[in-house]
Subunit: 334 residues, 2 copies
């Protein structure tokens, strides 16, 4: 997917004078002080433990706006329905989107519906776009960062990370993807696997108050492995994480082992990865842990050098390189 | 479709404090001075005489932003592809989108791609969202309007029209829908039917320079009949148009007769309907006609009273009420 975007989308559409342009391939774009994001959701099944396609679509777009350092201002929604799609299911999805919007504190203010004939689309596809406005506390935050090292942008961008910066996650990884595939394929892991789909703008705002936040990302497609590799490549830093410090629920770990999937490559929809300057790391951890969404937060590693590799110190005392995920281990999870 | 939106979307998502909110059901929404629009395009066939799904998607969203009185600032694009979709076709569509963006003077600055398995989507669906910033000359424009009558909003909204306002179209109607259905169904009308798909932000800017513009709309789904009925209902005015003054290409008229379709209900993708205060009507007409896109512009009628009906004076000297289109005479044209 990343290849498809780099090879086709960027050459055709790059070259704007946006503050954070398309070719940055960051979580969202920024132009004239406005953060803009658009995502399409084609998840299967559309209802799953812990969420549904509507909640996923709202939370997904909101999170990508928030992690750039912006308060979500408004959303736009495009629905594509298969003819004969049950009105009861549509209402369930709309109610779920509304509920998620309320939690975020944002409205869907415009949209579009298209109905395609039976067989021309698998149930429903939802596009959610959104705009956001810079958090005022972002300036204070970057003043703290700049006491430690320079930044390439006073937005939260992938190129901001320096050797020494500390890496945190806001909670356990792999829940969304594993919950989805288990539900879809009918596996029974004798345990309740639940997606973590949730909006994280509150959590972003909370941790920004600490100051010293360099970059935040929600590790969706490609999971934590992808996020760390993107940071490593774009900021030209090596990143070392400790396997035992990465929170993974036991049922997710067991499912991954059975399915032969690396939990680090599994998509999440309700977690943040945070890079913070060292003096603020402990306070950032406590800020995350003080919230419901971030109660399982952990420091998992740090940016080390200019090597450009992501390395994991394993529980058995070895080291292994974590490569960028080659493909999506689980299709249609978002 | 309008019913679906009124019945399901508005009750779930209405209630924002946007300047032009969802429940206005106008061409786009406005919040904090930013115009926001999102549309999904599921047109079939994806290539047609005069355009393709890419050009349609960019022009469609751009036009909805422009008709509110805003300069398109940036676009976001979501692509949903069927597995196995030809890269050559994708590149052709992307090139067409880029060409259209260049003409508009805007960039696609962010986006998303999803690939669905074979059979889960009919070829390709494109979502284009966009933001726009108020044309500075909108204030001057409304100063001119307000010498004639009050307005409900100093954006170009459907509720602004008063009895006496003059109605223009920027060119012939029905071209897009009829071209598409002819091409799709393999009809041969012994004439080249071509879609009018094109961006109209230049034309909007041109006519705004005249001053006195009350509202502009691009008559897409439901065609001219739908646009006039929306204005009539929302502004609580009667509208009378003269049949012989409405420009319709001869081949479109012939095709409509054969297919039993009212050309007034056929969707357009490169035309504007403009409501203007009477003293500025002639100058607005000349401004439209001075452009390539508007060379066939015509004054077609006026807002008459508070009756709330759209009436057409027919070529044979009678009068008939034009009701809101009951359904879409041609599915999947946008």
């Amino acid at each position: 997917m990343q290849e498809l975007i780099k090879k086709y989308i960027v050459p055709y559409f790059g070259g704007s004078n946006a503050e954070v342009p398309l070719e940055a391939l960051d979580d969202a774009a920024v132009i004239d002080g406005i953060v803009l994001k658009s995502d399409v959701y084609a998840v299967k099944p559309i209802f799953f433990p812990g969420g549904d396609i509507g909640r996923l679509a709202v939370a997904g777009t909101v999170n990508d706006i928030a992690v750039m350092g912006a308060r979500p201002l408004a959303l736009a929604c495009g629905l594509v329905l298969e003819e004969g799609f049950l009105i009861a299911d549509l209402e369930r999805i709309l109610a779920s989107m509304r509920e998620c919007c309320r939690r975020v504190g944002v409205h869907i203010i415009t949209g579009d519906i298209k109905v395609m004939e039976k067989g021309a689309i698998d149930e429903i596809v939802i596009s959610v776009s959104g705009i956001g406005k810079r958090y005022e506390l972002l300036d204070t935050n970057f003043s703290v960062v700049e006491r430690i090292h320079p930044v390439t942008s006073r937005w939260l961008v992938d190129t901001n990370i320096y050797p020494g910066d500390i890496i945190l996650v806001s909670g356990s990884i792999g829940d969304h993807g594993i919950s989805l595939i288990s539900h879809r394929e009918g596996y029974d892991f004798k345990s309740s696997l639940t997606s973590d789909t949730q909006p994280l703008n509150g959590l972003v705002e909370k941790v920004l108050q600490v100051g010293g936040i360099v970059k935040i990302k929600d590790p969706t497609r490609g999971g934590l492995a992808n996020t760390l590799n993107e940071w490593s490549e774009k900021s030209q830093v090596g990143i070392t994480v400790s396997e035992e410090s990465i929170p993974i629920h036991e049922n997710v770990r067991a499912a991954c082992e059975m399915l032969g999937i690396d939990p680090l490559e599994v998509g999440n929809e309700g977690k943040l990865v945070v890079a913070v300057t060292p003096p603020q790391a402990e306070e950032a951890l406590q800020a995350l842990r003080s919230t419901e969404e971030g109660r399982e937060a952990a420091i998992i590693g740090e940016a080390t050098d200019r090597s450009g590799y992501v390395v994991m110190e394993t529980t058995v005392g070895g080291k292994r390189i974590i490569p960028p995920p080659a493909g999506d281990p689980i299709p249609r999870i978002c």
